[in-house]
Amino acid sequence: MSSKIEYTKQPIPANWTKIGMILTVLGLALVGASFAMDSTRATFNSILGMMFIISIGLGALFTIGIEYLAGAVWSTPYRRVAEILASVVLIVPIFAIPGLIKMHDVFHWSHAEALQDAILKNKSAYLNTTFFIVRMVAVFIIWIVFYFIFTKNSEKQDITKDQKLTKRNIKFSALFMPLFAISLTIMAVDWMMSLEPHWFSTIYGVYYFAGTFLTGLSFITIIAISLNERGLLVKGLGEDHYYSLGAMMFAFVNFWAYIAFSQYLLIWYANLPEETYWFINRYEGSWAYVSYGLVFVHFVIPYIILLPQPAKKDPKRLKLAAFILIFAHIYDLYWLIMPTYTKQHGIEGMVFSFYEIAFPVLIIGVVMVWFGIMSKNKNLVPIGDPKLQQAIDFHL
């Protein structure tokens, strides 16, 4: 017969926090050094960092919402991991600070003389500093509010086991989805697309969404599998429960490729100079290799790893794929953001040095430490969730 839910609360491995601390310190040193040496380049990288950490937190928040909304059962044992990870949205605003302070160094449209440019003048109703900040604040508030709603209800359920809380979260998930779509699009357009303020693409928000969800999912996969291997999650989780994580990642690897290809093909084919220059910037000099590499890192390699069915059940290969996908997202953000920097500063080809490593290192460190802090005094599994038993009994 079905196994009972067996869960005893244990803290997460202590060395996670330690490694996180080391990475944070290292990251801070690198970030400090990069701001001291070339603050403009460091600011561009801070945007890369912010978009990366948004992907982690928002990706996890979206995963919670979509699970409730779709009534998914398989993901219930991992939901608390997603909830703790989603708390990252609370620290996202910190990473917006460099970009806001040094706004004029990165956002060409924020200059006073940009208004002499007819096209930018036309856009100034949207692209102006005040509205930019208002939008950003509104977006952060939405994320944080929904983070608290989802997690408070879910944590309360650990004790009360009240099914009404599930229902309440389902309703809030439905409300969250349209707000999520709009807020994510705003951040993608504002912080990345407007770096090259003349350029535009209607699919841009969807493109960033594909990376966001993959990143959130990859973090959840790595954390959940690692915790489960140490027996810190509920008893009875195994390869059948891993499978869906792998299948989901595989699906969204394809989704990303589909969106990226659509955007590229349509712009390449129509060959309108006001659109193609964005891709041309990414094809000049050594940037071309970065562009080719993106196809492999973000699509071909994870696709091959995740395609066979056994791979989706094998914790090692799943974690490998997840690590590659996290790297791929950083790579993708680098490819989206940094060509603007080299172009603006008349540098030929790509640049890569400790500046570009600083923020990813810092963020991974901070997220590890933060995960440790936020997971304290919390069950690592939503033990009061009505779907949990069913999820543990789940077999392919």
Partner: protein
């Protein structure tokens, strides 16, 4: 009544015996059609006849009988093509994608939706063939060496359409047929008529319901679902390329591929839902095609309708944001120009009407959902009309601007396409099981003992 989230809800209502299920699904094929069926069939055949008549006139006198003009060279023909291709998408989404997502509620509706896919693709396939004006030259659409040295333009998405649609039609047909094999075997075993027995025997490929057969069957079904999934997305993606690779304002925008796919699923679900409301009533299959299932379909319509709304919004925003005056003009012209009436029909039907599905009461009211789904289909037809006609009628040269007005012949062909589609649907309901007998049995309560224990 509050839902109990700790239990998997049964997809089938009540606890029908397996024999009841077999009986209820097979009955339509074992009895003579009733009067209502003949009335319905005569209506659809009349529509089909009108369409055929208009087509014959077109072939004799040429496409001058249509409303197409210069600059509106694409009109009803392409609108109908895109519309019907879109209708087909729901079937594959239900049968393949929801299968991969392990959504059991799909079981009751998958067969019928897939059949509609095939009929919709057949209907859609007619339009490019007649659109060329000289259908006897259609063979050149397929690249083959010939004495004229004529080759297709491999860089044209119109040609990719030929490949995409034909591949899609083939795979859908195979997928559908594979699902039908066990059911044909069931029908073969039930029938007492020798001719029928022969036909079903041939169609069922000697299926014996053996364990080994089932093992192979499930493997093939999974693989075909995996194949069909990227195919269905590719079809409407390529249809969207027909427009988006051009440089015409209103056509060239990068969000087209996912937006077209979402729109296709949206209209397809509406059409399937409309038809199922009749099917479940007439064949008394309400316990298999339950209200819960219909409600889930409505939720998908709400989702895809909202995605479409997002795309409209994004297009409009970028038209302004890009600073491209032609682009902005096109969109303002859509909303306030000559075709504003079409635009607002589209907006009302596609974006606003499905928003009513936020309310559970409305989502579960059959008359209400029926009307909304009709609205959705009207809206989606107008969406293609708006995209194609408004952009073309205001092209780059103001001296060539013109207003497109469809003729009676255009209307007749559109009516004929509905006639063809529903004639095929009606014949299908009497010739083949509208629900997969075998699959439904697998989702009845208690049919899968290993899933809830005994696995330790």
């Amino acid at each position: 009544m509050d839902k109990d989230y700790s239990k998997e809800l049964s997809v089938i209502e009540g606890k029908p015996s397996l024999a009841t299920i077999t009986h209820d699904i097979s009955v339509p094929m074992e009895t003579m059609p009733n009067k209502a069926f003949y009335i319905a069939l005569s209506v659809t055949l009349t529509f089909l006849g009108i369409g055929a008549f208009c087509l014959i006139l077109t072939f004799i006198y040429g496409i001058g009988l249509w409303g197409n003009n210069n600059p509106v060279g694409w009109a009803f023909d392409i609108v109908n093509f895109v519309f019907w291709i879109g209708i087909g998408h729901a079937g594959t989404l239900i049968s393949a994608i929801l299968f991969l997502f392990r959504q059991k509620w799909r079981t009751g509706i998958a067969r019928f939706a897939e059949a509609m896919t095939i009929f919709a693709v057949m209907t859609a396939g007619l339009f490019p063939l007649i659109h060329v004006g000289r259908p006897w030259l259609d063979g050149y659409l397929l690249p083959h060496p010939n004495q004229h040295g004529l080759w297709v333009n491999f860089t044209s998405p119109l040609l990719w359409d030929v490949f995409a649609v034909s591949t899609y039609a083939t795979v859908s047909l195979i997928f559908w047929y594979v699902g039908l094999i066990p059911d044909f075997a069931t029908l073969r075993d039930r029938t007492t008529n020798n001719i029928k027995k022969l036909i079903y025997s041939v169609l069922s490929f000697g299926w014996r319901h053996s364990n080994r057969h089932w093992q192979h069957y499930e493997m093939v079904y999974l693989i075909l679902a995996g194949f069909a999934t990227p195919l269905v997305l590719s079809v409407h993606t390529i249809v969207s390329f027909d427009f988006a690779v051009s440089i015409l304002p209103g056509w060239h925008t990068t969000i087209f591929p996912p937006y077209f796919v979402a729109g296709a699923v949206f209209s397809g679900f509406a059409m399937v839902q409309n038809a199922l409301i009749f099917i479940r009533k007439v064949f008394k299959l309400e316990y298999i095609i339950t209200l819960d299932t219909l409600e889930k379909m409505n939720k998908i319509m709400l989702l895809t309708g909202t995605i479409v709304g997002y795309a409209y919004g994004m297009e409009f925003f970028i038209a302004w944001y890009s600073g491209n005056p032609l682009e902005l003009f096109t969109f303002v012209n859509r909303a306030f120009g000559d075709y504003a009436w079409a635009y607002w029909i589209m907006m009302t039907c596609n974006v606003f009407s499905p928003q009513l599905f936020w309310f559970k009461k409305l989502r579960r009211s059959i008359p209400f959902m029926f009307v909304v789904a009709i609205f959705v289909n009207v809206g989606m037809w107008f969406e293609r009309f708006v995209i194609i006609v408004t952009s073309l009628s205001r092209d780059f040269l103001p001296s060539s601007w013109a207003y497109y007005k469809p003729t009676l012949i255009d209307g007749g062909i559109l009516l004929g396409s509905f006639g063809l589609f529903f004639t095929l649907v009606l014949l299908f309901t009497k010739a083949m099981p509208v629900i997969s007998i075998a699959e439904v049995k697998a989702v009845v309560d208690g049919s899968q003992p290993t899933h809830h224990g005994g696995h330790e």
